[in-house]
């Protein structure tokens, strides 16, 4: 029987990329056991894949051309509305209504504070007392908590899957003070902790990254949610994790 008959080429590569289910893996292992040349072939493919990452995987820390940043910041800045007399008149008229609404809203909801970074780092350092500590031992717990976060933040969110970067969700802490917020704790194979602190945005979009005493911190906030991610890692690793976490946060 040929190797191809036992294992399709596509399955060989799915094995390399960890895309096979349990049955597929068992079948692949049996085929490899029976055909040492297949083992060598797979080793060569794996080496090529690793080589690709080592050659092209750098460069995330290279400074970006300043003109790119300037162009984006110019284009995405709030547009001035001077000279729009009609708009100003309408704005003035609606301001009274808005203020009334804001005052009424503040009776019921605490506005998000701006020092989200300080609160996030305090939560990570266990300086804040969580209202609840939820160990995440199964997918079902994570899904249930996604519902709680979604209701609290008034936008659909879930705990992002960071497994492809080697991090597994191990717990969620819920805080009611100083603002209703969540801290998602992830751990990698070496025991390193990555935290993702999450709460309603103060309304000001932010993106920043810095290092403080060996701790890499990334703030990523849009006009709906604010996140602070922290962990002991390089800037490049944080860049990848933050990108994966932020995009995986929304459903």
């Amino acid at each position: 029987m040929s190797i191809k008959a036992e294992l399709r080429d596509e399955d060989v590569h799915a094995l390399i990329d960890d895309e096979l289910d349990e049955t597929g893996r068992t079948r692949a292992d049996a085929a490899i056991e029976a055909h040492p040349d297949l083992r060598e072939r797979i080793a060569a493919y794996r080496a090529d894949k690793a080589r690709l990452v080592s050659l092209y995987g750098g460069g995330l820390n290279e400074p970006l051309p300043r003109e790119w940043i300037d162009r984006i910041e110019r284009a995405s800045a709030r547009r001035p509305w001077h000279g729009q007399a009609l708009g100003i008149a309408a704005l003035a008229a609606s301001l009274v209504l808005v203020l009334t609404g804001v005052l009424a809203y503040r009776q019921f909801a605490r506005p998000a504070r701006d020092d989200v970074v300080a609160d996030a780092l305090a939560a990570r350092a266990d300086s804040l007392r969580p209202e609840a500590v939820i160990p995440v031992a199964s997918e079902r717990v994570a899904e249930a908590e996604a519902g709680v976060m979604t209701r609290t933040l008034a936008t659909r969110v879930k705990a992002p899957d960071l497994s492809r970067m080697g991090y597994r969700l191990v717990g969620i802490d819920i805080y009611s003070e100083p603002a209703r917020s969540f801290e998602l704790r992830y751990r990698d194979g070496e025991g390193r902790i990555f935290t993702l602190y999450l709460r309603k945005s103060s309304g000001t979009p932010r993106f920043d990254q810095f290092e403080d005493k060996g701790l890499r911190v990334c703030i990523w906030q849009d006009d709906v949610i604010g996140t602070v991610m922290a962990g002991k890692m390089s800037a490049a690793e944080m860049q990848r994790l933050a990108s994966l976490a932020y995009t995986g946060l929304t459903l």
Binding site: E10, Y45, Y56, G57, W68, S76, Y246, T247
Partner: protein, 182 residues
Amino acid sequence: MTGGRREWFGTALIAQLPALRRYARALVGNSALADDLVQDCIERALRQWEGLREVKRLPGWLRSILHNLYIDELRRGRSRGREQEVGELADDLALSTPAHDGAATLDFVRAMESLSVEHRQVLLLVGLENMHYRDIATELGIPIGTVMSRLARGRERLRSALEGGKLRPRVVRSLEVRELRQ
């Protein structure tokens, strides 16, 4: 769209640029051309951002724009009737690796450049971007079986090119442009 949404998009776009630039360099094999493509990609993204419905689609949406721009670039190269040399990145990478590894680096990069764009694209999405097959299928709008077969063929051709040893800097071929437009 509100000013806040526009600001948010700008912030998210800037955050994606390092990864987009890295992907562009690996895809086209030429740092200068990659930067030109990223710059054009920024312009197009700023014009079309209101069409982006979900935050999580931003990286894939940017890669799609970049890919389309690259195809346009290839077509322009063909219409001008010239062969476009895109091997400079191999030299850049070889210079940044230990001397004893320089030749192997050159061979690998040139082997990558000998692949069709669609094969390189899938190899990079799996290897460099660490994406799942199903997510790649969604991003490219193709069945997952096609992702798997492109990946298998791409890796096989890469291996053949490396084992064959007769590698030279890649040139853009009109055949490749026809393949891309299918």
